[in-house]
């Protein structure tokens, strides 16, 4: 109990902060911050597994998040039958061509010894394969994108409940991580960072521009929800009576019956969106707790000890007979898969998929700030980092607005400098993040909750 005091204190402070937002701003804002904190926590857990457990630097978080989001679309949207009829065959043929291409390359790799001719012939196979696929898929893609482009123009998905996409998102992200890991994990740390960053940009470029699969920058809106809709709740009897019961004190003060009804309606509308957010919070909390239990178990298992050994001294671990390459690949896949879950959760909560919104600042670097600030190698620290940094990211604008007004209280409103500062309030969050990261790196390099290794 005693040794976990700092963990408990840190989380209590965090919860009090969110509650204060609920009391002083509104419960709606507090809950949406809380939900995104939970999603960020899942992302940081993924990054923490890679960086904190194994020392692998992955700047491609954005790509895995987007793949998770794509999974949410492909699972939950109803299939567009017409598009399948128009171009489904061509797409399936191209898929077969890709499979054939991969098999041929594998065959060449296995059959022939390493030589210049082999490298060139593989390059030739890939280039001619890409050209072939392009030409065979072109008419199909055009036909699909021509099907009611304002509403669909893509193949659609499988029409399953969106919750399944959380698992599928993990599979997608893990699959990508397998390929990336096979290719890039041999690189030295800072090159791995650059390579993963660029690969994630390639992933985003593909998602943005392959309209037949993802609808691209036209966005997919109105995804199915695992939670009830606000409009339905507002007309449901049990919900209205629930709101009435909660607010009976407040309502009984109002004498006039018509006024009371109007107040109740207002409360029901507010309450419905809070209730929906609470449903999401519950779902996300379950995911976070399951992942936390799993990752904690893994950290203190023999496997976790091996990972730390590899992280701290690769050569020594290798000499002890641990397969460093294989374990690196494994942990890279696991971490990325968790990030994929977070990506699917994010799209589930928003109910829309906007490929244009995936930017490295928000989805890669901010997550890294969370991991570093929270404490790499410590799951509680990583989760706390997700909470603290997201909270500050959202609340930075109001805080800085308050500070600007406080320090320039004597200056009239018409002052150009003051007006300019107030106008640029949204950018103070970058300043806050940067300074926070720099101070933590300098004065507490292990993060708020540093890694603790207990030897039992």
């Amino acid at each position: 109990m005693r040794k976990n005091l700092n963990v408990i204190a840190a989380y209590t402070i965090m919860m009090v902060l969110i509650l204060m937002v609920g009391i002083f701003q509104s419960w709606n804002i507090a809950l949406s911050i809380f939900n995104l904190c939970l999603i960020s926590a899942v992302m940081t857990m993924g990054a923490n597994i890679q960086w904190g457990y194994a020392g692998l630097i992955n700047f491609g978080i954005m790509g895995y998040t987007a793949l998770g989001g794509l999974a949410a679309v492909l699972i939950s949207v109803d299939p567009v039958q017409e598009a399948w009829r128009a171009g489904g065959f061509d797409i399936l043929m191209s898929l077969w061509l890709i499979v054939v291409m991969v098999l041929v390359i594998r065959f060449v790799l296995k059959r022939f010894d390493k030589s210049k001719i082999r490298t060139y012939s593989i390059a030739a196979i890939i280039i001619s394969g890409i050209l072939l696929i392009r030409f065979s898929a072109e008419p199909g893609i055009e036909a699909i994108e021509a099907v009611d482009p304002a509403k669909t123009g893509f193949l659609g998905g499988f029409g399953l409940p969106i919750i399944f996409s959380w698992i599928v998102g993990a599979l997608f992200a893990g699959g990508l991580a397998f390929i990336v890991g096979k290719v890039a994990l041999g690189l030295r740390a800072d090159y791995l960072a650059i390579a993963t960053l660029l690969i994630s940009e390639i992933v985003i470029a593909i998602i943005k521009h392959e309209d037949w699969l993802t609808r691209g920058v036209k966005n997919v809106i109105g995804l199915k929800r695992p939670a009830p809709y606000e409009v339905d709740l507002q007309t449901t009897d049990w919900f209205i009576s629930l709101v009435e019961k909660f607010n009976s004190g407040k309502l009984s003060i109002i004498e006039n019956l018509a006024d009371r009804q109007a107040a109740l309606n207002q409360l029901v509308i507010e309450g419905s969106s809070v209730f929906v957010k609470l449903c999401y919070s519950g779902l996300f909390l379950v995911v976070v707790i399951i992942l936390l239990i799993l990752t904690q178990k893994a950290l203190y298992s023999p496997w976790g000890r091996m990972m730390r050994a590899i992280r701290d001294n690769e050569e020594a671990a290798n000499a002890m007979g641990k397969n460093v390459v294989k374990q690196h690949l494994l942990i890279f896949i696991l971490g990325s898969a968790i990030v994929g879950i977070a990506g699917a959760m994010l799209v589930t909560q928003d109910g829309l998929f906007t490929p244009g919104s995936y930017r490295p600042m928000r989805y890669t670097f901010l997550i890294w700030v969370m991991v570093i600030v929270g404490g790499s190698g410590n799951n509680f620290g990583a989760i706390l980092g997700g909470f603290v940094v997201w909270f500050l990211w959202i609340e930075a604008a109001p805080i800085s607005l308050f500070l600007i007004n406080f320090f320039t209280a004597g200056i009239p409103e018409t002052n150009a400098l003051k007006a300019h500062l107030i106008e640029s309030v949204p950018y103070f969050r970058f300043l806050l993040m940067g300074l926070g990261l720099l101070f933590i790196m300098r004065y507490r390099p292990k993060g708020i909750l540093p890694e603790k290794i207990e030897i039992k």
Binding site: I57, T119, V183, A184, L187, R188, A189, D190, Y191, A193, I194, A195, L197, L198, I199, E201, I202, A205, I206, K208, H209, M361, F365, W368, V369, I372, L421, E423, S424, Y427, F428, R429, F430, L431, M433, G434, L435, L437, L438, M441, R442, P445
Partner: protein, 336 residues
């Protein structure tokens, strides 16, 4: 005649734009490579430092314009660049003093440096956005074209026009001058040679009496010059927007690594490799083949290898391929 038309077409749409874009990338790539070679970290704040320098240049340009100072046909920004450079260098030295110096003395691993540079990236981004705002800014004035497409057609009687923007000529000219000066400095002067020695083997360089403080200072000064000029030229040619500059970091990294990181000459050529491959692979060659091939063989499709949406993806793919098959870059840099 058709053949000449085809050549002009390629010159107008591929060669000149790629040469311009490549020059801008090359300056950034040399900046990255110098920081990597001498200070030994991958600077993720590259794009934002360039935007800071450009911002300073723009502010001075506006100031000169308000005073009524101009260079006639040349853009006023050329006059403002030296002042922008001074501000950029001051900002870089300030950051070095308060941030990077500590880690240099600690001999931190490169990963930690990279993380710190992400902090610097955030701060710089905030500073630029707070001072000048996130919107698109054009600060070009003076004569826009040296040769207009229509005039060229009238002059030569060809079907294809060749447009030559003054910013393109300025970019290429300034890059050649700057890079020649830089290579002269690195290869011929004592300070330049000691920088190279420091980059090759730090301990040996220190033993032979090279002052590390001076090396670091000179590196930041050169980096400031390169960042400001590279950024300002890009802004003159296209436009200034902080977010674009942040994104430009990625092809710049690609250029530096493709050329062999730590090797300034490689970075210089790497910029052109990236620029040319981006434009060559995404250009639609239909018109070119219409000129070159006989009428019966004219293509129906656009003859475009990749759609222009994948412009960035091309350079990143090249980088990934280089990283895997030739990690030291095309021109041998540091082995990774």
């Amino acid at each position: 005649m058709d053949f000449v038309n085809a050549i002009i077409l390629l010159l107008n749409y591929i060669f000149i734009p790629a040469l311009t874009y490549g020059s801008q990338l090359a300056l950034g790539a040399i900046f990255v490579t110098l920081i990597y070679g001498i200070l030994r970290f991958a600077n993720f704040a590259t794009g934002d430092m360039m935007s800071f320098g450009t911002m300073a240049t723009i502010l001075f340009t506006w100031y000169f314009q308000s005073l009524g100072v101009s260079l006639g046909v040349l853009p006023t920004a050329l006059l403002a660049i030296p002042f922008g450079i001074i501000f950029m260098i001051l900002y870089m030295l300030l950051i070095d003093k308060f941030v990077f110096k500590y880690y240099r003395y600690q001999k931190s691993p490169p990963v930690q440096f990279a993380m710190v540079s992400i902090g610097v990236m955030f701060v710089t981004q905030a500073v630029v956005r707070i001072i000048i705002g996130p919107s698109d800014r054009r600060f070009f004035d003076g004569e826009k074209f040296i040769i207009k497409a229509r005039e060229f057609k009238e002059m030569t009687g060809l079907n294809e026009g060749l447009a030559l923007k003054s910013t393109q000529v300025i970019t290429i000219f300034v890059t050649i001058v700057l890079v020649s000066l830089l290579f002269w400095f690195l290869n011929r002067t004592k300070t330049g040679k000691s920088m190279k020695a420091y980059s090759d083997n730090e301990d040996l360089a220190l033993l032979s009496g090279i002052d590390p403080k001076k090396i670091v200072l000179v590196t930041w000064v050169i980096a400031g010059i390169l960042a400001t000029i590279g950024g300002a030229l890009y802004g003159l040619d296209k436009s200034f927007k902080p977010f674009t500059y942040f994104n430009n970091m990625l092809p710049i990294f690609a250029a530096a690594i493709v050329g062999g990181i730590g090797n300034p000459f490689g970075a210089f050529l790497g910029g052109y490799v990236i620029a040319f491959s981006e434009i060559l692979l995404t250009y639609a060659y239909k018109k070119f083949f219409m000129y070159v091939l006989p009428e019966s063989m004219e293509p129906n499709s656009l003859v475009q290898l990749l759609s222009t949406d994948y412009k960035f993806a091309v350079s990143f793919s090249i980088l990934v391929i280089v990283l895997i098959y030739r990690p030291s870059g095309i021109f041998k840099g540091k082995v990774l």
